[in-house]
Symmetry: C2
Subunit: 320 residues, 2 copies
Amino acid sequence: MSTPPLVTLADIESAAARIAGAVRRTPLVPTQLGHADAPLWLKAESLQLGGSFKLRGAANAVALLSDEERAHGVVTHSSGNHAQALARAARDAGIAVTIVMPTQAPAIKREATEALGATVVVVDISERAAVTEQIRAETGAVFVPPFDHPAIIAGQGTVGLEIADDLPDVATVWVPVSGGGLISGIAAALKALSPQVRVVGVEPELAGDLAEGFAAGHPVSWSSDRTGRTIADGLRVTAVGDLNWHHIRAHVDDVMTVSEDQIRAAMRSTIVEAKLVCEPSGAVAVAGYLAHADRVGRGPAVAVLSGGNVESSLLREVLD
Amino acid sequence: MSTPPLVTLADIESAAARIAGAVRRTPLVPTQLGHADAPLWLKAESLQLGGSFKLRGAANAVALLSDEERAHGVVTHSSGNHAQALARAARDAGIAVTIVMPTQAPAIKREATEALGATVVVVDISERAAVTEQIRAETGAVFVPPFDHPAIIAGQGTVGLEIADDLPDVATVWVPVSGGGLISGIAAALKALSPQVRVVGVEPELAGDLAEGFAAGHPVSWSSDRTGRTIADGLRVTAVGDLNWHHIRAHVDDVMTVSEDQIRAAMRSTIVEAKLVCEPSGAVAVAGYLAHADRVGRGPAVAVLSGGNVESSLLREVLD
């Protein structure tokens, strides 16, 4: 297949200017979790408004709507963090928003989305694309996808700009992968700013569709029955998006996987030692660093702590 | 009693320059915990090296030692965070350190102090001053007190400089109080920089010696049996120090107390909503804001999240 136009550094810098008033610039937190020759920082998107990086892309997509589009509102499907993000961005812009959410989504995420004023429709994960399309057709709402869209990729890429700004000599950036919006944007930004930076994607072994596809050289899709097994509820998407695939092929150096035990251990370390609350998906990049840093090389490392929306019961379980 | 010389803004600015390479500049994290007319930021000293603000004062005190004093090392008593801080500062300076620690100190704090290379001596809390003096007399080590010393106050005051720098229009700063080192330094810095800022001390009701003394107009001491009842193990000191008392009388606007339930609820909110891990003592200022902000007035508020060193078992219990 031919390569579509990729998101550029200029696109990401434009997105940063566009969303500056709507999102937080999150801190890059030094930690003692790392090896001496590859000290580890955490990009704490858990401290972003809404508790995850997702607001960056959603705010950028909403800011790019025409007046005509704004009148019809927006719709999306999401396992949770994109839902909250789009709900917040739509509320701030004063437009209607409907969220299609899978039954497996944690209650904390559904409640938070409703609290932001969104209409939430709960369906089986296998039906969410069809139901979203139905709502779009009936209401004229604009579909804002969670990851497979240049505006989303450019918005998430602002994470990469901030990493490069705060730690100019960064050598390796570890990024959790689900649909690929975050890693596409971060890699596009970093490779344009400093091509020597290594960008490594990390997935749960139980949702390792990109790791398999990256090794094979073509996109691979897993069933939701398979990806649904991981504790990392934000990473259960069954394949990266088309546009994301092309960014990953162009810019990402490697994709690695981690076990469920490694995810839980990384959550514990992040909470108890680095003092930052993280959801399982948010700990996956830390787990990747802890499991694989010796294969990647030396120098300052950043793991993107993508979100902190976790139910108390799961926190208690992981700390046990 | 006559007023001793108080720590000045210049002292605190000198301390900031002296310790800049040894401590982290911690983020001031915006939150959604606050009221609309008094939005709340958290000064996340939980993300400081060693997990609490205490390194600031300890590093300043160690940096001020003469070569002669360095040769004999340092000694202190502490319920934990000052211990780790002095151990780290001494290790970084290459000098010997002995810590006298009460039997009630959490295991996590004792182990962390030993891991930093300190000699730890565990005694009943009532004997710790006497044992510290005995070690000082026998070894010639310099006693670095936890709070009642101008070098410690100046070091902790660098927290105030950073708050004023990051949030110039701050209206109220909430600070947990134990021996008074942190609030003395913060108040000295802030009142010199912007006299209209309100500085409010917060104590557990079960260790409310300063609240009682502040209202009475003279220092009050409580028994360690009384102060030992609070979950906030960092705030069980039985009275503020002499020098601290004078700073508090000169600069602090009010001192308020919070219940044990309010401390636990503030821990939960800080962890689950603000995504920052805190120890019970670290949540006391947040609890003060949540309980009393309507009595204090409007405008941007900061609660000093003084530390994040908490055992997993207590985290689990509080999240239940």
